[in-house]
Every structure is written in structure tokens, then in C-alpha cells.
């Protein structure tokens, strides 16, 4: 599986014009569907943008969703750079949630926040990486196809968690399938809280310090992938495995480590959800976040800057879409899933579809 067929367009156009056209195509089809179900697409767009960016709380929620999507987007991108298609983000986030919860169960009764927060972060990364390790290992050493294995691992994770919720994790006497609430020591500082430290009054939203972790991850991702020898090996294996072998790289090792890297990044999304927002683990907390990551990575062309932008797009779609659904009961959260699917189709499977149409525009100028 190799990505990025050579394109004749200038690089900046490949990175901006094509994704933009793909996005427009996806939005146009969505507009058509909106119109078909009897709503005004333009009005809906305005409501959606207003819901996502029009007021402080909306922005907070948008950025909260963006945070999670950055993590899963980076996760998918990390695997892509090694030539692997990681569909297992969903399961990796889920298992990472288990790691976070176990750490909280074990330590949150006595450990202070300064230790608790790093500990839970480590736990999430470790569990996410462990769940991604197995598909990576099976791909590298046994030749199992990573896509099929990660799909299976999503279901195995779901069954495992279902069992654990039933037997162990679910709070006694609780009404929801969720763990007990975790002690405050484990909470990620919320943006409102941190704003307070600086004397700012921010609205009460689930937006929390994970956003900063996400941005730091983006910078680290950029450094590791493009400026370290490990990233160099990762990209070489993903682009030309034969050349990687001739250069003396250990392809299996690179594949396995890449998957662990991807799993650890996905795992952090659990921190944002659980410790940043709900402060307990709900059974349905992942809610498709791993799949959004695929769209985010493809649209962001596997680059942190692109990923931040497309995560923001999806964050806005999620939050704006929720607001929109209050005004327009006909339009629900699923509309966003639909857009996500279209974006995967256009940005992923048909990424250069529009190239023949715009290539002449670039040919005339040198």
C-alpha cells in the first residue's frame, strides 16, 4: 500500500488547492442532500458556522472536539507515513480509556494532581500503544494485513470493554454504563480554570489542557517525522520499502514502532474525553473519534499543520452540527458522519480527482 501518487502540480497547490476542491465537492454533495430533505443549505451553513464560532461557549466546544480529533488524526498519519492504514484508532482510544480508568482507580484516592495527571497520560499512551502493538507485530512478523487485523481488534476491544463494564467497571447503583467519577486530582485543568489563573473569564466548556498537549504533540510529530533519524526510517519504509532494506533499515521494527507510536497518540484522545470532560469513563465515550481521525489525516495530508486545520474543521462541524440540530430537528449529528465519509472518499480515495481539471491552469506559468 503506497500513498501519494506523484502529482505534476506545484507542491503548494497539491497541499492547498486539491484538498480545498475535495472539501468543496464533499460540501456540495452534502448541500444537495440538505436541500433534498427540504432544508436550505445556505441557512444551515450559516447556523453551523454560528454554532461553532459565534459565541464563546461554542468556540470552547469546537476546540474541545478539535483536540480529540488532532490526536486521532496524528495517530492515523503516523501509521500512514510508514505505509500502514490504521483503522484501529477507535479500539486504541477505547483501551487507552481503560488504562486511564485503571490508573485512576488505583491511585486517585491518595495521589496529588502533580503526579496523577502525568501518570494518567502515560497510562493512556501505554495502553493505546499496547493495543496497536499487536496488529503491528502481526503485520511485521506474520504478514497479517493491518487493516483486517485492526478492524478485528476494534471489535475485540469493544467486547472486552463490554465485559469489563458489566463485571468490573460499572459503578454500583449507577444508572449509566459508566465508571464512578474520578477524584479531582486526576482531572485535566479546564480552560476556564486556567483562564482564571490568568485573570480571564472564560465560559464553562469541556475544553481543557489537553489542547496544549495536542499542539505539543503536533510539534513533536513534525520534529520526529521530518527531523529525526527515526522519522527518516519511518518515511523511507512507508515510501520505498525496498530502498529501506538496501539502506540497512529493519523494516519489521519500524512497522511495529510506528504502530505503537500511532496507538500512543490515539490513546491521548481518551485523556481529553475522560479526564478533560466527563471525569468518568462512559461506555460510549469513543463515539467514532477514531474514524474521524482517518478523515482528518487524509484531509490534512498527514502533516501536523493540515491535521490541526482539518481537525478544527471537524471540531466545528461537530459542534456546529449539534447546535444546528437544535434549530433544525431534521439535521442530526449523523450529517457530520456523512460529510466525514465524503471527505474520506474525496481526500483519500480520489485525492487527485480534480487534478486533470486544474493542471492546465498551472502549466502556463512556470
Amino acid at each position: 500500500m503506497k500513498f501519494g501518487q506523484p502529482s505534476t502540480l506545484p507542491r503548494w497547490a497539491q497541499l492547498s488547492v486539491l484538498p480545498l476542491l475535495n472539501l468543496l465537492a464533499a460540501l456540495a454533495i452534502t448541500g444537495l442532500v440538505v436541500w433534498l430533505i427540504g432544508e436550505d443549505p445556505w441557512e444551515c451553513l450559516k447556523l453551523l458556522v454560528g454554532g461553532a464560532f459565534g459565541y464563546g461557549e461554542g468556540i470552547g466546544y469546537t476546540l474541545f472536539y478539535t483536540t480529540g480529533y488532532i490526536f486521532t488524526g496524528l495517530s492515523v498519519a503516523a501509521a500512514f507515513h510508514a505505509g500502514l492504514f490504521n483503522i484501529g484508532g477507535e479500539g486504541q482510544v477505547y483501551i487507552a480509556g481503560l488504562g486511564v480508568s485503571l490508573a485512576c482507580y488505583a491511585f486517585d484516592s491518595f495521589m496529588p494532581a502533580v503526579f496523577m495527571v502525568p501518570l494518567t497520560i502515560m497510562a493512556s499512551m501505554l495502553f493505546g500503544a499496547a493495543w496497536a502493538f499487536m496488529p503491528g507485530y502481526l503485520q511485521a512478523k506474520r504478514g497479517s494485513h493491518i487493516v483486517v487485523t485492526t478492524i478485528m481488534f476494534n471489535y475485540i476491544a469493544a467486547a472486552l470493554m463490554g465485559y469489563l463494564f458489566n463485571r468490573v467497571l460499572m459503578e454500583k447503583g449507577g444508572t449509566n454504563t459508566a465508571t464512578r467519577a474520578f477524584a479531582e486530582a486526576s482531572w485535566m485543568p479546564s480552560m476556564q480554570q486556567m483562564g482564571g489563573w490568568l485573570g480571564l473569564t472564560l465560559p464553562n466548556t469541556p475544553l481543557n489542557a489537553s489542547l496544549f498537549i495536542a499542539l505539543i504533540c503536533c510539534v513533536l510529530f513534525w520534529l520526529v517525522v521530518w527531523h529525526s533519524k527515526w522519522g527518516f526510517e519511518l518515511r523511507t519504509v512507508g515510501t520505498n520499502e525496498q530502498a529501506a532494506r538496501f539502506a540497512g533499515m529493519n523494516v519489521s521494527k519500524v512497522v511495529i514502532v510506528a504502530m505503537c507510536f500511532a496507538g500512543a497518540l490515539a490513546g491521548l484522545a481518551a485523556v481529553n474525553e475522560i479526564l478533560g470532560s466527563t471525569h468518568r469513563m462512559n461506555m460510549t465515550f469513543t463515539n467514532g473519534i477514531g474514524f474521524v481521525g482517518i478523515a482528518v489525516a487524509l484531509m490534512g495530508r498527514n502533516h501536523p499543520v493540515g491535521i490541526v486545520l482539518s481537525a478544527l474543521l471537524f471540531g466545528a462541524l461537530t459542534q456546529g452540527g449539534l447546535d444546528l440540530s437544535l434549530d433544525k430537528p431534521n439535521i442530526t449529528r449523523e450529517m457530520i458522519i456523512f460529510i466525514q465519509g465524503l471527505i474520506i472518499l474525496f481526500c483519500g480515495a480520489l485525492e487527485n480527482l480534480f487534478e486533470p481539471f486544474i493542471a492546465p491552469l498551472f502549466k502556463r506559468k512556470p
Partner: protein
């Protein structure tokens, strides 16, 4: 005189800058075995591909049984009674012989009737030509010789009157080849026409009635086989080209740096790809390995570069057996550390990552080097400086180290690889096809660099299918054919004709 089966007139074909066929005219008589011989790149495969409809000639005419025809695709060719046996068999491995034969000519919606008819037909063909193929065998489990016969059957089943075989003996043992020749003679005797494309002189002499010799896209000879001998053909085939001139002083080579002893290689099925290879390369010496491609040179290079595990043998580098390091397969990274550098044969698949920038390609394989690291990150300035140094030393153009390697010409790509591999100051340099697809200017520069390295006391093992290159650069020439070394000639005694004989499998 027999009837004319196929007549090609004035066939001309270009691929970009490459003039593959120049005004080729050729007459093939019915009921004969016609050989087309020539070196790699002489244009013989292109010519036959035009006849079989893969390519359209830029100009020229084709006549089949004296009727002018247009062959637009393989379908047309099959309809005209032309069948082709490819060098790489076009068979479905997990199908039975019968299924492979009827594929595309099933003769109805259900398979049964087609298969039954084919079975009867096949029995007849088996009898007529002594093919001895079991119709129910699974193709993937058959040996190469039998698979080839399945290909022949496929063509015959489709009513081929003219059968083209592309390098049919390249993958066969001598016994299998003899069997094939018996089949071909039987085909001829039943009135079929056979065309074989080959570079092996022995089989041309043995089996053909007429020979067409091609060189550099042109027909240089059209003779009755009975009137010529091997030397004549070798002469025609290799020709008296203006040899590449490389200024080279005579030098007395120093100590033995690379000593390869009894190296053998077997593939998964147990076929011997390398048989008991022994060779030595001394400091200050270029040892050239000549041979037609596919005779084991690539495998030898890959074994020595740590890409394939040798089945047997030793590889002594300054007296130390590198194969012992790890199960007959030294890691490429360790080889580089020790001082054995490798310029792979296929630069775009093995030597470079085309979507990476020039400066990134400048460290491929040496990406652990300390001098380009700063902490856990790369020192980007040092990386770019390094690439700039390469660009200057080797006159790589364009001079921008940030360009992607794919944007460079073949010659400049090769310079990047060469610069990278010799920058670590290795003692032994394994070089594969250094000037394949490279323009004249770059060839000159690369050759000069290789001679300079030799003069500096490096030991260089050069594998090339370009005889001129071998002759121009080598101090000693080894010839490989069929996975073994068939001869050794000191450079000053070597002639193209003599080497041509050795390459054609004629022992000296």
C-alpha cells in the same frame, strides 16, 4: 523457396529519446525456425512486441501470409495466428493446465464443454509435438520447463501458426532446453513457424534455420545458419563499436580486499542461481563482471551486499568472513560500517526514495552518522551542507538540495547515489549498472570517478551488461553465464568477440 509467413518492412519505433527500432526489415519463412539475436537493448524484444500488438510501430508495414495487416493488440495477433511465449510466463499459478489453456477462449458460458474439448485437443497436441504435459496438474507446482510448454500449448490451442518465444532458455536447464528444441523442431516439421529471440549463440547454431542479428535497433545481418559459425555471429552481434575511452594508467594492484569463496545461492524451489562463485578483488583494481542480464550477476551483487542470504560460501573482507557475522547474511548497515559500500543496480527502486529531497537521499543508509545529528534530531544545516558538497563535487544539476530526487535526470540521480556511497571512504565498492539510463555526460563523469577511486586504492567490483563499459573500466574481466563464472580475461587481452562467446555460454 518456402512461403513467406511474416514480412516486416521499414519498422521504426522510438520511445522518447530512445530509438528502439530503426528501419527494420525482416522476412520470416513458413516452416522454419528463425532466430533473432542481439545484445540487451538491441531492439529485438521491441520488434516482436510490435508484431504481437503491444506497441504500434511509428512507421513501417507488417504482412502476414502476404496480406498487409494492422495489429492493434494481442487479440489481433492471436486472430492472425501469431502466438507469443513471454519470458515471464503469463500463467495463473493456482489454475490447472487445462484452465490456463482455455482462459480467454473458453468457448461457451459453462466451462465443461470448453474444458472437455480442450482436453481432447491437448491430447492430440501432446502427441504431435511430444509435449508431455499433464492437463490436470496445477501450474504453480510445475517446473519452469513444463510451465513453458503450457505457454506453448496456450498459443497452439488458439491456432497459432507463428510462435514467438522470448528468451525461451533463460530459465531452463540444458536438459530442459534440449527438450524445448526437440519440440520446436517438431513444430517446424509440422509446418509451423517458430521465432526465437535470444542472445545465446549455441542455441542459435543448434536449432535455427535462419538468423537475424540486431544491434542498436538495426538489423546488421540476415543469414542462413548453416553458413555461419559462432564467431561470425558474435562479431556481428557485438560489432565494432567505437569503444568508450577512459584514461587509465596501468597499476599494480595491492592486497586482496575482497575474497569470495565458493558462494552458491539456491532459491525457494532449490534452483541454483549462483554456482560456486570464486573471485578476488584487490586494492586498486576494478574487476568487471560481464554477462547478459539474468545470468546471476544481480544475485551475486545482492548476496555480497547483504540483501540475499547465500546458501553456501565465504565472503572474506580483509581476511574476515562477513557471512559469519550473521547467518550467511551480513546486514547492509554493518557492511557499510566495515567499509563495503554498494551502488545498487536499480537506483529508483533500491538506491533512492524519489519523493524525498536530494539532501535526504544523500544520507540514506548513512542516516545514523554522528556528524549529521544534533541531539536526537538531525542537524539540518549539516545535512544540507553535505548535500551541497555532493552537488559540487559531482556536478549534480539542478544544484538545489531541496529538490525531490524524482525531479532530477537519471544521470544526476545516479550521481547522488555514487556521491553518497563513496563519501564514507569505503575500501570495497560494489557497483551495479552504474550508467543504466544515464546520459553521455554523466557516464563520463561516473567512469572518471570510478577510475579515480581505483587509483586511490579501492577495490571495485563492477557489474554491468554494457560490454563497452566493462572493457573501458576493468583491469580484469569475469564473465558470468547461467549462474557461474565461465571465464576470466585480463582486460588488455579481452576482445568483444571473445567476451561475446563467453557470455553466450560458450566455454573458452
Amino acid at each position: 523457396m518456402a512461403e513467406i509467413a511474416i514480412e516486416l518492412t521499414g519498422i521504426d519505433k522510438r520511445f522518447g529519446d530512445v530509438h528502439a527500432n530503426r528501419n527494420v526489415s525482416l522476412t520470416i519463412y513458413q516452416g522454419s525456425i528463425h532466430g533473432i539475436i542481439g545484445e540487451n537493448g538491441a531492439g529485438k524484444s521491441t520488434l516482436m512486441s510490435i508484431l504481437y500488438g503491444y506497441y504500434q510501430a511509428d512507421s513501417g508495414h507488417i504482412q502476414v501470409r502476404q496480406q498487409p495487416v494492422h495489429i492493434r493488440n494481442s487479440h489481433d495477433a492471436i486472430r492472425l495466428g501469431i502466438g507469443m511465449v513471454h519470458q515471464h510466463f503469463m500463467l495463473v499459478d493456482n489454475f490447472s493446465v487445462l484452465e490456463n489453456i482455455v482462459l480467454g477462449a473458453e468457448g461457451g458460458f459453462t466451462l465443461k464443454s470448453g474444458l472437455d474439448a480442450a482436453r481432447i485437443h491437448l491430447k492430440q497436441l501432446n502427441q504431435d509435438y511430444g509435449l508431455e504435459v499433464d492437463p490436470d496438474a496445477i501450474v504453480g507446482q510445475l517446473g519452469v520447463g513444463l510451465q513453458q510448454r503450457v505457454e506453448i500449448l496456450k498459443a497452439l490451442y488458439r491456432g497459432a501458426e507463428v510462435l514467438i518465444l522470448d528468451e525461451p532458455t533463460a530459465v531452463l536447464t540444458p536438459q530442459e532446453a534440449d527438450h524445448l528444441f526437440r519440440i520446436l523442431r517438431a513444430l517446424r516439421d509440422q509446418g509451423k513457424t517458430v521465432v526465437i529471440i535470444t542472445h545465446k549463440l549455441r542455441e542459435v547454431i543448434d536449432v535455427t534455420d535462419r538468423v537475424t542479428v540486431m544491434r542498436a535497433g538495426e538489423v546488421v545481418g540476415n543469414v542462413m545458419t548453416a553458413d555461419v559459425d559462432k564467431e561470425d555471429l558474435a562479431d556481428l552481434m557485438v560489432g565494432r563499436k567505437v569503444n568508450l575511452q577512459v584514461e587509465k594508467s596501468t597499476r599494480t594492484p595491492g592486497e586482496v580486499l575482497l575474497d569470495v569463496r565458493h558462494v552458491s545461492l539456491k532459491d525457494k524451489r532449490g534452483v541454483e542461481l549462483l554456482k560456486d562463485i570464486n573471485l578476488q578483488v584487490r586494492a586498486g583494481e576494478i574487476v568487471g563482471i560481464a554477462g547478459v542480464s539474468g545470468n546471476g550477476q544481480s544475485e551475486l551483487l545482492e548476496v555480497l551486499a547483504g540483501m540475499l542470504p547465500a546458501s553456501e560460501g565465504e565472503m572474506l573482507f580483509k581476511g574476515e568472513d562477513l557471512f559469519r557475522l550473521k547467518g550467511h547474511r551480513p546486514k547492509p548497515s554493518i557492511l557499510r560500517e566495515k567499509g563495503v559500500a554498494h551502488i545498487p543496480e536499480d537506483r529508483s527502486r533500491e538506491g533512492l526514495v524519489k519523493t524525498f529531497s536530494v539532501f535526504e537521499n544523500s544520507i540514506l543508509g548513512y542516516h545514523h552518522d554522528r556528524d549529521i545529528q544534533k541531539g536526537w534530531l538531525y542537524n539540518r544545516t549539516a545535512l544540507i551542507e553535505k548535500a551541497k558538497r555532493f552537488i559540487q563535487q559531482f556536478d549534480i544539476r539542478p544544484t538545489n538540495p531541496l529538490l525531490r530526487a524524482g525531479q532530477l535526470s537519471g544521470g544526476n540521480q545516479q550521481k547522488v547515489v555514487l556521491a553518497r556511497e563513496i563519501d564514507s571512504n569505503p575500501d570495497v565498492l560494489l557497483v551495479g549498472q552504474p550508467t543504466r539510463g544515464v546520459d553521455i555526460g554523466a557516464i563520463e563523469l561516473i567512469h572518471k570517478q570510478l577510475v579515480k577511486l581505483r587509483d586511490e586504492g579501492k577495490a571495485i567490483l563492477l557489474v554491468s551488461v554494457e560490454l563497452d563499459e566493462i572493457l573501458a573500466l576493468s583491469d580484469r574481466i569475469l564473465v558470468m553465464a547461467g549462474g557461474r563464472i565461465t571465464g576470466e580475461v585480463p582486460a588488455h587481452e579481452a576482445t568483444a568477440t571473445g567476451l561475446g562467446c563467453l557470455m553466450g555460454g560458450v566455454q573458452s
